[in-house]
Symmetry: C2
Subunit: 279 residues, 2 copies
């Protein structure tokens, strides 16, 4: 314990290149692990994949448990994600400035075109869906909000990538996995880059059955006034219903909607809320 010169480095005490961010980070990592399991998990199962010793993992779980972030079923001896998370997420979603701004616009788009509409954001070089309007039936929404998808082979993904600043775009492209979902998937960085140039030029991105056979999309980025990528929106359809060219006819509608969303989003953020300090 050298306190005199303690000011030195934040020694992360060697060991594998961990992040060593703090207890909170560890607890969240445990949460992720529980989430990743995809179903209730037992202590050992978590222990196997966890970089923590038994006692530490145990304590973290207890903390999360008493905090309502995970649940524990005594009978099956399994942990699952807790209700508090759902509450929080409800808040996160309903006040997400983009989601908030987009909601009525998506409603209108969906009603007007009878197509499936998606709203997404970029999260760590992946597509994170924020909202959806289904063409046909009232499908449970939550099953799609929060869902993660690939950026390099979806309409929204490409629309957003194309409008990123160069540096960020390069980073993001480097993070893509280029799994060949279908024969049409752009399966290497160069093919993607070429495609993105078109997208950047036209302001419209297409998914030509690149992610799923038979499924096509038109997408447009949602850009802030100063060109920052806020998100993306798209129409999805199927080749059985119409050709890509037909779907492309909806692009102007999409671009207008994107502009409207951007404007609404900025007016939510921007106003000098400084007034009502209380609360």
């Amino acid at each position: 314990m050298q306190r005199e010169n303690a000011h030195s480095v934040r020694q992360t005490n060697g060991r594998s290149g961990a992040k060593a961010d703090g207890t909170v980070a560890k607890a969240l990592a445990v949460l992720d692990a529980v989430a990743a399991a995809g179903r209730p998990v037992r202590f050992v199962d978590l222990l196997n994949d966890a970089p923590f010793p038994k006692a530490t993992l145990y304590r973290l779980l207890q903390t999360l448990l008493s905090q309502g972030m995970v649940q524990y079923d005594a009978e099956s001896q399994r942990y699952s994600l807790g209700l508090r998370l759902i509450r929080l997420a409800h808040a996160a979603w309903s006040q997400s400035s983009l989601g908030d701004a987009a909601r009525p616009v998506l409603d209108a788009l969906s009603a007007q075109t009878k197509r499936t509409v998606h709203l997404a954001q970029l999260d760590n070089a992946q597509v994170l869906y924020l909202d959806k309007r289904n063409a046909a039936r009232p499908v449970a929404m939550f099953s799609d909000a929060g869902r993660i998808g690939p950026a390099y082979c979806t309409g929204v993904g490409k629309a957003m990538l194309a409008h990123l600043p160069e540096r960020e775009r390069a980073d993001a492209i480097a993070k893509q996995s280029f799994h060949e979902y279908t024969p049409h998937t752009l399966s290497d960085p160069d093919a993607l880059r070429a495609n993105l140039e078109d997208v950047a030029r036209t302001g419209v991105a297409y998914d030509r059955e690149e992610h799923e056979l038979g499924i096509i999309c038109v997408a447009a980025p949602v850009l802030s006034r100063n060109g920052v990528v806020l998100g993306g929106i798209s129409f999805t359809s199927s080749v059985h219903r119409e050709s890509l060219a037909d779907l492309a006819a909806l692009a102007p509608l999409l671009r207008n909607a994107a502009a409207e969303i951007a404007e609404r989003a900025e007016s939510i953020f921007a106003p000098n809320v400084t007034a009502g300090a209380a609360e």
Copy 2:
């Protein structure tokens, strides 16, 4: 200069604004605060309501920020909930054993009856909605999953309360706020208790415009094999559409559905997954 400790308020209480010790708990409290704000908040605003000194709050926010649990907009200098939360919640929701088990059942109920269907769970003596099927249009679901409601004046709430073990029920009743939403609201513990006795006897709870004028519900608890309250489901309708008596005719359907959900939920939890030890 001494931290006013000495209190040893070591409560493992956890819920409802409790502040058990531990960094994780504090960080989560900050998250809650951001969520509670309902919109992007500035540092000071958080500081005012927070029980933490400036530097501590600052550090906690930085941690949450670097963990993706909150976002920071440099321009407006405001914090909001982060995307990681949405991802986690998606997982929480889609693997919630109850929600999972209930989904197809709710679909069927909704298709069959054309009524609005709710699935809820008790969370800290309040109703937390997990899923919903709207009678008419495909409404964005997330806006309702995660929503919190009062237990003492909703169908699902009373259905669940009534089937709680005595001790827990007493606790839960003590936590109700008894706000008089409408002239029909059961606005004191005794009235509620009396009503719950009926509910317990019949296995069906009604909301007779107790929460909102014109809105009525029939609800049934989802009970595990050994009688533990897992959740509740309900049909909601309006007095303009039908009388409570008419709606009540759907009760048997509801009870069957509840039983089916319970069975499915238990078979999701139960299976001896012990097999794949390796991995």
